[in-house]
């Protein structure tokens, strides 16, 4: 499998960028000609991942979030969302449905479950104090 195209963007951890992030990733992946449902799956998963960076990784608006998309010749899109924030103590626990560390705010604890449901693959690696890397994969139907 060869990479046929690639993009990378760095955005600030401001909540207004959540919309930009999912639209930018969706626009880039559009060249693989996804169905509307596939595109909505991807935008939803990206929105969850970027919101996690903004709500959990950083509690300030000047953190950096890296978004990278790689398109492969077998119609596969790989999206990497990385932050340099506070990291996740227990990734296994964070992946459980309804687990959230946000008490007062209205967080559902469903972010990773939704990413898992809407994408073909989800991989999360994290180091407390160093940051988190989320890899999302989707096969686009031909």
């Amino acid at each position: 499998m060869k990479i046929i195209n690639e993009m990378k963007a760095i955005i600030s951890s401001k909540s207004v960028n959540e919309g930009y992030a999912r639209v930018a990733v969706g626009a880039f992946i559009a060249q693989l000609d996804p169905t509307l449902d596939e595109l909505a799956d991807i935008k939803t998963a990206v929105s969850e991942a970027v919101t996690n960076c903004i709500v959990h990784a950083y509690d300030r608006p000047d953190g950096k979030i890296m978004i990278q998309v790689k398109l492969y010749d077998n119609n596969r899109a790989v999206i990497i969302i990385k932050d340099w924030g506070k990291g996740i103590e227990d990734v296994k626990k964070a992946l459980e449905p309804c687990f959230t560390t946000s008490e007062g705010e209205e967080r559902s604890g469903m972010g990773f479950t939704i990413m898992e449901t809407f994408m073909d693959k989800l991989r999360v690696t994290s180091k407390p104090g160093k940051g988190t890397r989320v890899v999302l994969e989707k096969y686009i139907s031909k």
Binding site: G19, D37, A40, T44, I54, E106, S108, M110, T113, I114
Partner: protein
């Protein structure tokens, strides 16, 4: 994100249009809670028929309003959800607390 709040016959209807995410829903949350607390409806209808995108922040919004309505003895109906919105709400278990139409 645009929204409209109407009250008639003890029913508070909130019609939303646009994309629901963590950023967009914040001002709506405050406005709807303000309306619930001042008008004390027995039923809250959240009309999602003009929502073009929703992530799990939509579930948080629905459940937050359910908690407020429940504390006043009222109920919540989510109306006009498309297939994808229904899926996110059902996956999160909102159907146990509110009526999803």
């Amino acid at each position: 994100m645009q929204y409209r709040i109407d009250m008639s016959d003890n029913i508070l209807t909130v019609s939303l249009a646009g994309e629901i995410d963590h950023h967009n829903i914040e001002p709506v949350r405050e406005a709807v809670d303000g309306a619930i607390l001042s008008r004390r409806p027995s039923l809250l209808i959240l009309d999602f028929s003009k929502i073009s995108f929703m992530d799990s922040s939509g579930f948080g919004f629905v459940m937050g309003r359910y908690k407020t309505m429940n504390s006043l003895g009222g109920q919540v109906i989510v109306r006009g959800s498309n297939k994808r919105i229904k899926m996110i709400l059902e996956l999160s278990g909102a159907g146990k607390y509110v009526t999803i139409e």
